[in-house]
Amino acid sequence: MNRQEFENKNAQEWQKFELQLSTSESGKKSLDGEKLPSRFRKICYDLSLAQYRMFGHRVCDQLNGLAIRGYRQIHRKRGAFGEGALRFALRTFPQAFRREWKLFAVVSMVFWLPFFAMWWSADQEIEWVQALLGADGMASIEGMYGKDADSVEFLRQEHGSNFMMFAHYINNNVGIDFRLFAGGIFFGIGTLFFLIYNGLYFGAVVGYVGYAGEPELLWRFVAGHSSFELLGMLVVGMAGLKMGFALLAPGQLSRGDALTRAGRDGLPLLIGGACMTALAAVVEGFWSAEPFPTNVKYTVGIAFWVLHALYFIFVGRGLRAA
């Protein structure tokens, strides 16, 4: 069979396939939808044949284009959103966390060491803390947690201020998470920088409140959302560092391939961590500043920490990897 015969024989079938693709691409339901896979297989076969027998680039290009469009239609990656989210939360995310537990140990050290060092330094010599916070930082901390400050609960009674703070935390904290992740692309340096900086800063805030303010005001505010926010940040940091390590020590792979693999494996950590930080914003916006007794707040805060530990240790254990 030469090219001309080949084209004459199949042109009609190709045209039908193209027509069906156009319908399917525009989102309409076509009448003969069940024929799409078999027509696609035929196109694959024809393309291979045309390439092998070298029926010229015109036929090959045409079939190549049809095959690409067909592939996109057949392999559309859409599932039910709810099911996907559930599977992610109950299986993929905690499993990915456990797989990368060593990275969790690393990011925890990187964050908590500067945190406690800064806090400890406030008892010894307050100037380090003062230098880091600056005059504006100290003033705003004294405004919120100072000895004679209007409590956060009081400030939040204005109409819509809870919602406003929620939006602020989403914008600010989830944005920090994303930068934390992306910073991993510079051999992990960006991630390390943001983690250490946040550790130092939080440590300085705690230290300064202990020095000049009323620690109970601070603790009752942060207790509720602390687990979501800190763990979320650390989990995203894991994804960022994973990329950094892949670039530093790619092992048997090329650096490009190692990066691709690190991106794929770290993805659940990025999405999961960002979701945790978004939840933190909900708690921080609508619970943390509500006027409840201190004991209730501490209890809720501790309960959230315990729940997080249980979640990461036990959920999805023993289930087949998703």
Binding site: Q51, R58, I170, L259, G263, I271
Partner: protein, 236 residues
């Protein structure tokens, strides 16, 4: 999926699970940079509209609520403008769509939320150190760091169909008396089907490369090559 051949070509060969090979045409740095500039412009306009809306709605909803909407919308535009457009059926941001580009995974399929987030978040870091995006020039598939981490490519959204401009029909069949490889056969055939678009001088220049095979140079060589193409095609 087989790993693509490492050669310098704008066509990337990908083997699919169906057992066939397709060719993807990856887009080069210039077009992608233009798409990036267009997207920056679109984002700028979006922020402008957002600020306008804030000014309009401020007296109606009150300061706090309006500020909250401004922050949330700003967050979505800043971090998710590219992502939302890339996971849509377009598979491209507005800038890429205008220039006829599309983001695909390594097999040429549409991309999902996760990889799109990876490649776009990393871009914000890449523009931070302006020499980093230059690695695109050292990658055979024009991938920047974000593309590598996400496993994505930017390709032309429509396959290019080369125009067929056959030269004047050959008068004779000229048998080829040596065994040609498949690529060589293909080259001779496409000489016939593209020569209509070339000047006579260009045809002769190309045909002279085959002087050893045809035994002729100049216009005679051209007609010999055309005759060979005719013979090769009729043989099948």
């Amino acid at each position: 999926m087989g790993s693509p051949a490492r050669r310098i070509d704008t066509l990337q060969t990908v083997e699919l699970a169906e057992g066939m090979e397709i060719h993807l045409r990856t887009a080069g740095p210039f077009l992608r940079f233009m798409a990036f500039l267009l997207d920056c412009l679109v984002k700028l306009i979006a922020f402008g509209i957002l600020n306008l809306l804030v000014v309009i709605f401020m007296p109606l909803l009150g300061g706090n609520v309006t500020e909250a909407f401004r922050l949330l919308s700003g967050f979505v535009i800043w971090w998710f403008y590219d992502v939302l457009f890339e996971v849509s059926p377009w598979g491209a941001t507005i800038g890429k769509r205008v220039l006829g580009l599309r983001v695909v995974d390594e097999a040429g399929g549409g991309i999902r939320l996760g990889p799109s987030m990876i490649r776009n978040f990393i871009r914000l870091m890449e523009v931070f150190l302006p020499f980093v995006p230059l690695i695109i020039f050292f990658n055979p598939r024009f991938q920047r760091l974000g593309d590598l981490a996400a496993g994505t490519l930017v390709v032309y959204s429509r396959p290019r169909i080369d125009p067929v401009i056959p030269g004047p029909p050959p008068l004779e069949k000229v048998p080829v008396n040596i065994t040609l490889s498949r690529e060589e056969e293909a080259a001779i055939l496409s000489f016939r089907y593209r020569s209509g678009g070339w000047s006579e001088a260009r045809r002769m220049e190309l045909a002279n490369h085959l002087a050893k095979l045809t035994g002729e140079v100049g216009p005679k060589g051209v007609s010999r090559v055309m005759g060979m193409a005719h013979w090769l095609e009729e043989q099948r």
